[in-house]
């Protein structure tokens, strides 16, 4: 599990981002980070920190979201077979990415949602038609139950060969 020094450092980071000094972070606090502000999916990522309908996230929520990105090998040390699945399991990491696409949280990625996310990633550089055909092809390849949308199970199947653990993990230095 997370070490004491890691928690201290993350808390220190949390407070340095908390310009209002009220123990919670707002969306503006995140947007003040230049490298995040220029990330095409910055807003979606920021959104992942805020529970439904809320505008503030406290330290616990902050840590919870970050916990998805702990490397999976950390779990080797604390093998708890009967406990709930850890947040940084392969499945939960995939779920985090799935939620970035699933804008209306209906557990399905529709063509429309895929188009919107693609638009965020490419900006103005690709036409609507081209983007549309990218979206169509992607859904066609993934869709197995014929509902023209990608469910979480279909999402997992498409990505079964991808090294999710490596791509969705952040390593702490100490």
């Amino acid at each position: 599990s997370v070490s004491h020094s890691q928690i201290t450092r993350l808390y220190s980071r949390f407070t340095s981002l908390d310009k209002g000094e009220n123990g919670t972070l707002s969306r503006e606090d995140f947007q003040r980070i230049p490298e995040l502000a220029i990330n095409p999916l910055g807003d979606r990522i920021i959104n992942a920190f805020f529970p439904e309908g809320e505008d503030q996230v406290n330290f616990r929520g902050f840590m919870r979201t970050l916990a998805h990105f702990r490397p999976i090998e950390d779990n080797e040390k604390s093998r708890d077979q009967n406990g709930p699945e850890p947040l940084n399991s392969r499945s939960n990491k995939l779920h985090f990415a799935f939620r970035l696409y699933d804008l209306d949280k209906d557990d399905k990625i529709s063509r429309d949602e895929l188009l919107q996310v693609l638009r965020m990633m490419v900006g103005v550089n690709i036409s609507d038609e081209q983007l549309g055909s990218i979206a169509d092809r992607t859904i066609q390849e993934a869709d197995q139950d014929g509902d023209s949308a990608i469910s979480f199970a279909e999402f997992v199947k498409v990505l079964e060969k991808v090294d999710v653990e490596q791509k969705m993990s952040i390593r702490f230095l100490h």
């Binding site: 502000a37 220029i38 970050l66 693609l118 490419v122 690709i126 990505l159 952040i170």
Partner: protein
């Protein structure tokens, strides 16, 4: 009864003032050192070394030694620097993949945990505690002896050093104002210039003493000459004093109100500093014109400019404003690196105003810094102002051991421009259409 106390207080005050004048002000005015500050620094260094050893002994979780040596490894996480093209490998696979999102996702989360920019606008983290309460955020209680030393330190700093430094600062500022006003009455002549230099140098030296400053100047043969422009990295308003302690410059800056304004008005009579009204400063052409005028006169003192435009925390050098690099003439770069172990020189202007900043500086142990004068640089054929500015910036960063960041210091207060995000989007789009066909 009260008369006796008053008399005693007056006596004590007089003795105090005489001691300060005799032991500190006069020698520094003459440029002579009595060795008092060297002795103080020696005691300080020994104490801090002892403290570090104590803390390492008492540390229950010893860290591997490499992590403590340099501040660059003080990071929280291991940043993955793989560029977008490698990570989202489209050479071998058809175009868009659902997994492309992982790259942006991880980059975003990494930036949330630790980013290159916002950390530069707050004080540098120390490798080991330097016995000041303010830097004690990440360190725990170690031992009784250490706490006692810390307590003694508090008493020494607040009850002895602080009044001493305030006295010196008062003397320094008053002499500066009075001296430059007097010199300003003289008609323009070489005598006036000489006296003006004397006054500026003397008062700077007194003010450096007021901060318990220990400055090491390197490569003095490269000191900025008349008619040139001196550029340096910016950490605090003290930078100016650090540099004027060793030479005379014409300052450039906005006119302020209050005490600063009084100083500005007095000094400009003796020496042709370039003070702008706030509205004028925004007009870049006007600034450039005035500077060109000044630089063209080879008899005028070198101009001192801080091209970052704002205070950065002395771990990196941010983008230089290109204004001063398009004027022509010699640019004399200077690198200033403070040693954070003895006191934090960085002015976090969004957190502290100037007065609380100065109080914090005056209750630190000392201000220790290295100043490197670099050889003059000239704009080359075919090089525009921006490229020249970056070249100078690299030279300063390399000399001072600072990192170079391609970010603007203005990000302290302003939002980042949309163009950077559009660039990322463009790069990604180019990968999607790279294979000719899209889809």
């Amino acid at each position: 009864m009260e008369d006796v106390w008053l008399a005693v207080a007056a006596r004590v005050g007089a003795v105090w003032l005489a001691a300060v004048l005799g032991l500190i002000v006069v020698p520094s005015a003459l440029g002579v050192s009595l060795g008092i500050s060297e002795a103080y620094m020696w005691v300080l260094v020994k104490t801090l070394e002892w403290a570090t050893l104590r803390m390492e002994k008492g540390d229950k979780n010893p860290q591997p030694q490499e992590l403590k040596t340099s501040t660059s490894s003080n990071g929280i996480i291991e940043r993955d620097e793989t560029p977008m093209e490698e990570e989202i490998d489209h050479l071998n696979r058809p175009n868009f993949e659902l997994s492309d999102i992982f790259y942006f996702c991880r980059k975003g989360l990494e930036a949330i945990v630790e980013d290159e920019v916002t950390q530069r606008f707050s004080s540098e983290e120390l490798v080991s505690w330097n016995l000041l309460t303010r830097t004690n955020a990440n360190f725990h209680y170690i031992s009784l002896r250490l706490t006692i030393v810390w307590a003694i330190g508090v008493v020494v700093r607040y009850c002895f050093l602080l009044p001493l430094r305030i006295t010196l600062a008062a003397i320094g500022i008053t002499s500066m104002i009075v001296g430059t006003t007097l010199v300003g009455q003289l008609p323009n002549s070489s005598v006036k210039n000489y006296l003006s230099e004397v006054v500026h140098l003397t008062c700077s030296r007194i003010l450096v003493r007021a901060l318990s400053g220990t400055i090491h100047y390197h490569n003095k043969e490269n000191k900025p000459k008349k008619g040139g422009i001196c550029v340096a990295n910016h950490t605090s308003p003290i930078d100016a004093i650090i540099l004027t302690n060793d030479g005379c410059y014409a300052m450039v800056g906005q006119v302020h109100g209050g005490l600063m304004g009084v100083i500005q008005r007095a000094t400009v009579k003796a020496c042709p500093h370039v003070w702008f009204e706030r509205s004028e400063f925004k007009d870049r052409h006007l600034v450039a014109e005035r500077l060109k005028e000044h630089v063209a006169d080879k008899n005028k003192l070198p101009v001192l400019i801080f091209p970052e435009g704002t205070c950065i925390n002395n771990t990196s050098v941010m983008l230089f404003r290109k204004g001063s690099f398009g004027i022509g003439g010699a640019i004399h770069p200077v690198a200033i690196k403070y040693d954070p172990q003895f006191g934090d020189a960085f002015w976090n202007s969004s957190k502290y105003n100037i007065v609380s900043y100065l109080l914090r500086v005056m209750t630190s142990w000392a201000i220790v810094c290295n100043v490197w004068y670099l050889p003059p640089m000239f704009r080359e054929e075919g090089e525009d102002a921006v490229q020249f500015a970056n070249r100078v910036r690299s030279a300063i960063a390399r000399r001072g051991g600072l990192t170079e960041l391609p970010w603007d210091g203005g990000l302290k207060r302003a939002k980042v421009k949309d163009t950077f995000r559009e660039e990322q989007q463009k790069n990604y789009s180019m990968m999607l259409v790279r294979n000719g066909s899209v889809g």
